[in-house]
């Protein structure tokens, strides 16, 4: 599918990528304790005796975390393991109070699934690729170390310690930085649709461990490295690029890739070995004896399934099929759950105002949203989430265009004024006298004036330079401050020039 190649001194190389994504499960309290999970609290204020691993403390799992992981699994068409269990991953670190992380190695909650990525948004059907997902397991997050607060000490904050994570492990199915980026973006979209993770990568709610290896096309996999905790789509792509390049250079210089853990430095755009993690790892996984096996019944799984919203791919197909949107528009509108939600609210309100079916107004609404509102918000440095214009406001504006009260070009001005003032479209049109003129007399007068003033161009037109028609339309509209009904202007011009 992908023809991404690294051009080395000795020939072409293919890159092989797998991602392990840690996604924080949306829940009020932690995976095994009642402490809160909210971001940004004072140090160690969201820490229970359980999270601090006081002697004799025991874990009790949070149903919501299990439910959200199951819903996520269902959203990627994965196998849900009705019998799973928690294992301990043993190692010593200051951010790990128990001396072990409760995770799932042998029997994860979610098994094999997959998701589809679109590589070219202009051609969503022709450029899809299916990326396999090996498993999703549920585990505890670690605490946080701060190194710059004291000359000789690191400080430990356990607020994150015990927060529920889903570790979503892909197959090594990606072959280019673009595929890796598209996979992470798509995964984030799905998680946000499902509501199982807020996807806030800058707050650490999603981080990717990027496994990269290189090989000659068609040869077996090479030795991989794992770059830890990469926290944006852009950085994931950068890691793949720089790490693949490093490996190729290394091999071509006669060296060998070492299987190791690396860290990405965005400032230098390079990865470096994490020596602190080099200590030979032997995690001594074994089933956590404080927890019984996790057994789910069909009813629980079915309830999870029934609670799933329409997912991005299904939505995109529906927008194309039932609503007749272009594949590009459908892709744009479904890429973020908020966009789709906004669009659907706009669609409902617009259809209601017009007394028409949603399919009949969908194109108008989607075009306006994508080409008008997005652009206008962008200029203001805003997004849909903080847009001063609501879907209902948008529908009001679209209705004024649809019934001929204002023209499309006036609508642009009205939108700008709506964004500035927060007032409704009708009020602005009324106040500013922007209503379209359908008075044929006034239009005829304006047209005649334009033709009289441009006799030379009229002659050229009549001699066959028909492209000048648009010029006359523009001049006539300008003479009427844009308020002339474009159809009528056209009509009058045609008959006059006829």
């Amino acid at each position: 599918m992908s023809n991404y190649r690294i051009h080395g001194a000795t020939g072409e190389w293919e890159v092989v990528i797998g991602l392990e994504v840690h996604a924080q499960v949306t829940s009020n309290s932690k995976l095994f304790s009642g402490a809160a999970t909210a971001f940004g609290a004072e140090p160690n204020t969201q820490v229970s005796l359980v999270d601090a691993a006081m002697p004799g403390m025991l874990p009790v799992p949070n149903r919501e975390c299990i439910r959200q992981a199951v819903r996520t699994g269902l959203a990627i068409n994965a196998q849900i393991n009705k019998w799973s269990r928690f294992d301990r991953k043993n190692y010593f670190y200051a951010d790990l109070p128990q001396g072990y992380q409760i995770s799932q190695l042998y029997h994860p909650l979610v098994g094999e699934g997959s998701l589809e990525v679109v590589l070219d948004p202009k051609d969503p059907e022709g450029s899809t690729k299916t990326i396999g997902i090996e498993r999703i397991h549920v585990e505890q997050d670690a605490g946080k170390l701060m190194h710059d607060q004291h000359p000789t000490m690191s400080y430990v904050d356990l607020n994150r310690s015990g927060v529920a994570l889903m570790e979503i492990v892909s197959r090594p199915d990606m072959r280019s930085p673009a595929e890796a980026g598209a996979y992470l973006a798509k995964l984030r979209t799905i998680l946000r649709y499902v509501g199982s993770c807020d996807g806030n990568m800058d707050q650490g709610s999603m981080r990717a461990d990027v496994n990269v290896s290189v090989r000659r096309p068609g040869e077996p996999f090479g030795t991989r490295t794992e770059t830890k905790n990469v926290n944006s789509v852009r950085f994931v792509m950068a890691v793949v690029e720089s790490e693949a390049r490093r490996q190729v250079d290394l091999i071509e210089d006669g060296g060998a890739v070492v299987q190791e853990t690396r860290l990405y430095d965005p400032d230098k755009n390079e990865t470096r070995s994490m020596r602190s993690k080099e200590d030979a790892h032997d995690y001594r996984y074994f089933p956590d004896p404080d927890l019984l096996p996790l057994e789910l019944d069909d009813a629980f799984v079915e309830k999870c399934r029934a609670s799933l919203p329409e997912l991005p791919d299904a939505k995109r197909h529906r927008y194309e099929g039932a609503l007749g949107l272009s594949p590009y528009n459908a892709g744009v509108l479904t890429a973020e759950v908020e966009t789709a939600r906004w669009f659907e609210a706009l669609l409902t309100a617009t259809a209601a105002k017009a007394g028409k079916g949603e399919a009949e107004v969908a194109k108008q609404a989607s075009n306006w949203l994508i080409s008008e509102l997005f652009g206008a918000l962008n200029k203001l440095g805003k997004g849909l989430d903080d847009s001063p214009v609501s879907p209902e406001d948008g529908a009001e504006l679209l209705a004024l265009v649809a019934d001929g009260t204002i023209s499309g070009s006036i609508a642009k001005q009205v939108l700008e004024k709506m964004l500035e003032s927060g007032d409704g479209a009708a009020a602005i049109v009324e106040r500013e006298g922007l209503k379209q003129t359908t008075d044929t007399g006034a239009i005829e007068a304006a047209v005649d004036q334009v033709l009289a003033a441009n006799a030379d161009k009229v002659a050229e037109y009549k001699a066959g330079k028909e492209a000048l028609f648009g010029f006359f339309v523009g001049q006539a509209m300008k003479a009427m401050q844009g308020k002339g009904n474009p159809q009528l202007v056209n009509q009058v011009l045609k008959s006059r020039l006829g």
Partner: protein, 495 residues
């Protein structure tokens, strides 16, 4: 007034309720015994006479106000130092937790205080409950109040790991004490000191707030002078706890009210594999005597087979150290307890130094074994194999209980041994739990009751193992033995 410290749980509870004496008088009497014995027996790590008096005053006040006194109203007890007690040092007898004062109370100890009990102090024990003789405590050995009748005065082991509990109860320093049992740590010390102790079904008592040794095996239980006292105290200790995911969500039966020594219609299994080479002749004789007593109580005695018995101990010595190696990883000098930070040490060096200084030799030995059996390449051969054998041991019991109601066996293969006799040979020490460990691996309720004295004048215990959840059956068989054994021996006070 008779010596109040001769009274057990039921007698104190009833006496306080009737107004024969006050709870404060009882607490003062036991406080005095505790103080008088501390230097000689070293049964306590910390004594809390004020806490005992305070609880007693509360009980007396409730009585004066006509309020109910609770199942343990007015009874002062000893608390094994494995239970977290709020504001009172809790060490698991280790240096690594020396000075640790929890900000929380374990579920079991809280239930006991809620039932009207008071605390005399924190009892010494084997470090992190690892040991069978109480010789692994950082705070020194507990000396059994018992002596051989040879006039030699050799200091004897009170058993372990609940050796402070067994010594204190048998020396009348407290009427009852909490114990915990991972592979026999209630039953073996009870047997060594001529008292009773019951480990309930795994999950009956919450593990929340008990310093963990081996999570899949640890169970708290009472140690007291007789079966009735055990029944009363277990009622106060047991019960569902939402904070422990392995806690049994079952109502607590009224075990005391259900006591009944009439065993007519009951079947008692005698496992042939427990007749092992090397078992002391006196122990075998007491077992035979126990069989006769149960027949006398109306039970039918049946020869049964528990074919995997021989493998219980080695399976235990894989599973328990494996769990312990992980459970004890939290003692790292970061959040509580000892920190040993040599000059210039980094974080990992601090861990290694702290743990080396804070753990005793037996604890280190088990951490190493546990770490090794879980390490890459060995996990299946050791840990998985042991857990499969554990399943087989559990099946052995299940098959036996299809036929019988309870199983009778000796509690330990010997009577108390001398302090120092076994320390150089860890394996020989481990073998002392050979009869106790199978029931632990299967999570079954099991009890030790005194059966008599051996030729050296030392107590021997008999063990009753029951079906899951059938503590009542175990207590009743224990009562049948107790009422026939007429065990009245007590250590002569030499301290």
């Amino acid at each position: 007034m008779a010596d109040l410290t001769d009274l057990g749980v039921a007698a104190i509870r009833d006496g306080v309720a009737k107004g024969l004496f006050t709870a404060v008088e009882v607490a003062e009497a036991f406080n005095a015994n505790v103080a008088a014995a501390q230097a000689a027996l070293n049964a306590f790590i910390v004594t809390t006479p004020d806490a005992a008096i305070e609880a007693a005053k509360a009980t007396d006040a409730r009585r004066a106000a006509g309020q109910p006194l609770g199942k343990m109203g007015g009874v002062p007890i000893g608390m094994k130092d494995l239970f977290a007690t709020r504001g009172v040092q809790t060490t698991a007898a280790s240096h690594i937790l020396e000075g640790f004062e929890p900000e929380y109370e374990s579920t079991v100890s809280q239930k006991l205080w809620d039932a009207g009990a008071g605390m005399l102090g924190k009892l010494n024990m084997d470090q992190f409950a690892m040991g069978s003789s109480n010789e692994t405590s950082y705070f020194g050995n507990v000396i059994s109040p018992w002596r051989r009748n040879d006039g030699g005065n050799a200091p004897l082991a009170p058993g372990g790991s609940s050796g402070g509990s067994s010594a204190a109860v048998s020396a009348r320093l407290c009427p009852a004490a909490t114990g915990t049992d991972t592979g026999g740590s209630i039953r073996q010390p009870a047997a060594f000191t001529g008292i009773s102790g019951i480990k309930p079904t795994y999950g009956r008592c919450s593990r929340w707030g008990i310093v963990a040794f081996a999570s899949s095996l640890d169970q708290a239980g009472p140690m007291a002078r007789d079966v009735r006292d055990c029944a009363i105290m277990l009622e106060a200790m047991a019960g569902f706890d939402p904070k422990d995911a392995t806690s049994l969500n079952l109502p607590v039966p009224e075990w005391e009210a259900g006591l009944n020594a009439d065993l007519r219609g009951k079947k008692v299994g005698v496992p042939r594999e427990y007749r092992m080479d090397g078992t002391d002749a006196d122990v075998l004789a007491s077992w035979d005597q126990g069989i006769e007593w149960l027949k006398d109580a109306g039970a039918e005695v049946i020869d049964i087979s528990l074919p995997h018995t021989k493998y219980a101990l080695p399976a235990y010595y894989i599973v328990a150290p494996a769990e312990a190696s992980s459970n004890l990883a939290r003692y790292d000098g970061v959040r509580y307890g000892l920190r040993d930070l040599p000059d210039g040490a980094n974080l990992q060096e601090m861990y290694a130094a702290t743990r080396a200084a804070g753990f005793g030799a037996e604890v280190k030995r088990r951490i190493l074994i546990g770490t090794y059996v879980l390490s890459a390449g060995f996990y299946d051969a050791y840990y998985t194999q042991a857990q499969k054998v554990r399943t087989l041991i559990s099946h052995d019991f299940r098959n036996a209980f299809a036929e019988v109601d309870v199983i009778l066996a000796p509690t330990a293969p010997t009577a108390a041994f001398g302090l120092g006799d076994m320390v150089s040979d860890p394996l020989a020490m481990y073998l002392n739990d050979v009869f106790a460990v199978p029931a632990s691996l299967a999570g079954l309720p099991a009890m030790s009751v005194p059966a008599g004295l051996n030729r050296e004048g030392l107590p021997l215990g008999l063990q009753i193992v029951g079906k899951p959840f059938d503590e009542q059956g175990v207590l009743n068989a224990g009562l049948a033995i107790e009422s026939r054994a007429g065990f009245a021996a007590r250590p002569e006070r030499w301290w």
